[in-house]
Subunit: 247 residues, 2 copies
């Protein structure tokens, strides 16, 4: 899977920043498994929980774009996830007002409990020995912190949308992160499984490392496959990427 | 050194937040040692480097208050440290415009290289096993990240003034940190060697843990000794505090 790359780029890298949902953790399996449990608890058919997870996540990109277009003040992803859960339940034929609020809260926190892909922690641990590793995720701080504690993700710092005050792919999310790290955009490398995220990062001057996650959508093609480019690095796993980084 | 405390408070604690300068790292020894080197490089007497460190740090509290009183937009502590360095040099009879800029930058970054007290990393490591441990420092993100990488400080997240947009003792610095962690102020415990910091935190509803650092000012009394109170916890070291927390 490794593609040739200019070794000189590696010398520019000062910090590695990671997308999280899909790149570090397997959101679909986690959300489907927990949603099956909660659907069953509210007396709904849980056979199609994978589709429920897809429907919940599908609203995500629209929500990100909506946040940028609207005049709405920044709210944490937990709040948006909660709104999307309610919308997903409606599309599922469930009246969300009939569901216990504490149960909805607990269901929403399934995003806090997502598990890392098996290569994530070994790869991150190796990369951390050479570079600071930080999040550059749309997840809010408390979500990412809970996830890190539970999954053993060894972040050096939790940065991203909430700290930057803007959601990816808004350029502010990438540029403010570089600013907080006191480095030039070209010294920050985004690691992500999403071509759309990497394309926005590259437009801001960041270096880009693609990691293939063929199972992110349960084997279905990624919605941004058409935005594939020749990224600075391309890897089949975090361990492969660590190898390529000489870690 | 341990004082009795109500065990019930411990059950409320969700996250431990740490002051850094003086509490986790020994700023005076680090700044004095590096300043002796730089003073010597610019042909100045370096015998009194401890006093130079004190003079540099002394401006700090005034700068924090000045930031709050003035209409000045938030700037990272690195910028304030640099301004204070220039002022300290002037008070030392040195014309800062005669000093090489790159040398000044390197001198200013001495704050990034401060070393932990010997009990800091062992104590933090133990506390981290039970609680998320985050910074609640006036240091900027890049400063705290560099310091953590160099000193092996195992933070779960780097929070504080820059992320909150306000310097301690502004209540916003404490309250915004709790908000980012999605917990109530009373579920956040500030660990600090400074009574003034703890007093401001308590006024915001935070729990408070005092750690004695008798050598912070090279053995001289702390300037905020008069603000001592009966804190929720009081410890002689981070290891002692870990014991008291049952870690």
């Amino acid at each position: 899977m490794a593609m040739p790359h200019e070794g000189s780029n590696l010398l520019q890298v000062k910090v590695l920043a990671f997308d999280v949902f899909g790149t570090v953790v397997d959101w679909r399996t986690g959300i489907a498994t927990e949603s099956a449990k909660f659907l069953s608890q509210i007396g709904q058919d849980c056979a199609n929980a994978g589709a429920f997870a897809d429907a919940w996540r599908e609203q995500y990109i629209a929500a990100m774009i909506g946040m940028k277009r609207s005049e709405r003040q920044f709210v944490p992803l937990d709040v948006l996830h909660r709104e999307m859960l309610v919308a997903t339940l409606r599309s599922w034929g469930v009246d969300p007002t009939s569901v216990d609020k504490a149960l909805l809260e607990e269901w929403n926190r399934a995003w806090h409990r997502l598990k890392p892909w098996s290569d994530s922690v070994p790869g991150l641990t190796r990369m951390k020995a050479r570079f600071p590793i930080v999040t550059l995720s749309n997840g809010n701080v408390s979500l990412l912190l809970a996830m890190a504690k539970q999954g053993g993700l060894p972040w050096d710092a939790i940065l991203g949308a909430e700290v930057s005050g803007a959601y990816k792919p808004d350029p502010k999310a990438y540029l403010r992160t570089a600013e907080l790290l006191d480095i030039a955009p070209g010294q920050l490398c985004l690691v992500a499984a999403h071509h759309s995220d990497l394309a926005a990062a590259r437009n801001c001057g960041l270096l880009t490392a693609y990691v293939d996650r063929p199972l992110e959508y349960g084997g279905a093609p990624a919605p941004d496959a058409d935005q594939a480019q020749n990224w600075d690095w391309s890897a089949s796993s975090f361990v492969d990427l660590a190898e390529q980084f000489g870690c």
